[in-house]
């Protein structure tokens, strides 16, 4: 346990987090093909954020989340600030549920994360509808959400076995 509590390890995780996020944004704006893609890809940054916030909250600090998602909002032509806001809300509510999720089986965690993603999609649509803005088609958005949910176990697998990131027991936080 002491092995992965060193600050150096935490800082390494933070570096990896920012690196993954910037790489994803970078690859998405590459001008490879301007035709309409058949299926929208998963939102990798979002699933990495959720997985890491649940495992080691210090590895994905709020400032990094804010930076990555705001940059994404600006560069990827999304409504400015909206997706960031929803992500921060989801992250906060997931962090409040760490007490139950830390000991729960993975399927439950998966269900909670899926619920969070779908709730974010729903909330985004409702807010855009209230603001009288043009919306992308529901099918495409749902497809992106589903892809994000499908990729979540892979992200968890990679962070657990390649990056050695285990679920941080909740007791420590409660004691503090």
């Amino acid at each position: 346990m002491a092995r992965r509590t060193t600050p150096r390890r935490i800082w390494a995780y933070r570096g990896i987090y920012l690196g993954i996020g910037l790489a994803v944004i970078f690859f998405r704006i590459l001008p490879l093909d301007a035709r309409t893609p058949g299926l929208p890809g998963p939102d990798i940054i979002l699933s990495v954020t959720f997985a890491w916030v649940l495992r080691q909250p210090a590895a994905a600090p709020v400032t990094a989340i804010l930076f990555l998602f705001l940059l994404g909002d600006f560069l990827l032509q999304r409504p400015v600030g909206l997706w960031t806001l929803l992500t921060l809300m989801a992250v906060t509510s997931l962090q409040n549920r760490r007490a139950t999720l830390a000991e729960a089986p993975f399927l439950l965690e998966m269900a909670v994360v899926s619920g969070a993603i779908l709730a974010m999609i729903l909330a985004e649509r409702v807010i855009l509808w209230v603001l009288l803005t043009d919306q992308p088609s529901l099918g495409l958005v749902l497809m992106e959400g589903l892809a994000t949910i499908v990729i979540y176990p892979i992200v968890v697998f990679v962070s657990k076995f390649l990056l050695g990131m285990d679920m941080l027991p909740f007791v420590d936080r409660e004691a503090g």
Binding site: T5, T6, P7, I10, I25, F26, F27, R28, I29, L30, P31, L32, D33, A34, R35, T36, P37, P40, G41, P57, A58, V62, L66, F74, L75, L76, Q77, R78, P79, V80, G81, L82, T84, L85, L88, M89, T92, I127, L131, T133, D134, P136, S137, L140, V141, E144, L168, D172, R173, A175, G176
Partner: protein, 322 residues
Amino acid sequence: MARESADTSHARPVRRLLMTVLMLCLAVLVLIWRIDNPRVERLRSAITDRIVPNLEWVMAPVTALGRMIDDFESYTRLYEQNAELRRELQQMRTWREAALQLEQENARLLDLNRVQLDPELTFVTGLVLADSGSPFRRSVLLNVGSRDGILDGWATMDGLGVVGRISGVAENTSRVILLTDSNSRIPVTVLPSGQRAILMGDNSAAPLIEFLDAAEDIAAGDRVITSGDGGVFPAGLLVGQVVINRDGQLRLRPSADFSRLNFLRVMRSHPGTALSDPGGMIGPPWPLTPAPGSDDPTPVEAAEFLPPDPTDPDPHAEAGDG
């Protein structure tokens, strides 16, 4: 965990307060984006302008690599492509004969009429820097901007057909909203019948052709060119061909090759419309007299003309060009 144990009992409420303030700020940002959209979009293009050109040294090799992989994949279909090309070449030979005759005839007629093709249509060539990066937005970023005199609203073409229009200009970069984007609306003319219509992008590969007078007069394969109605888009540029899908909807197959957008021409056509306020009431064009410099008539007059006269010379010029 070193971090987490620092979360002492008095730090947690502070943290919660900070998060709430942060979320409120973000909510205000969303509202500002909605209320003062042009300003935030300018901020967005300024940020893009600051970041993307600096990334060019990484993006260029990765993009080139991706395109090479695409090209390599197309080698695997070489045999079919070859057969297809032979067939097309056969057809093209007959078309070439027809085109040569038409070109001579056209030159004769133009000479008789002393027509001068639109001298204002010069162009600036830009290189595609980046994609929109979102599956719901179809746009590309060009490496020419206000420094090169680009203005909002100008038409953008690849060698053959219209690709989209400039929307958002920064110092060094400008964004092109493609025909296929769901925000794209372009006034067009369907050629043999000369009907005016609006080309509406809907995020599919083939944008919709809407607001036609008599849709039954349109056949698949009809040529579609821009009509210049409303004065926001230059007239007479080739856009594509009509296709009719299974539901009987009229759609457009663009002439431009959207799978390979590399060099784009920005047509330097007219002053463009500045987006300075959120917009007003739609009424009659005001002032009612046309500007002396502009070559296209006011929309009221344009509606009275039938298209063959103003539109015919340009498509032939296009065909001769490409």
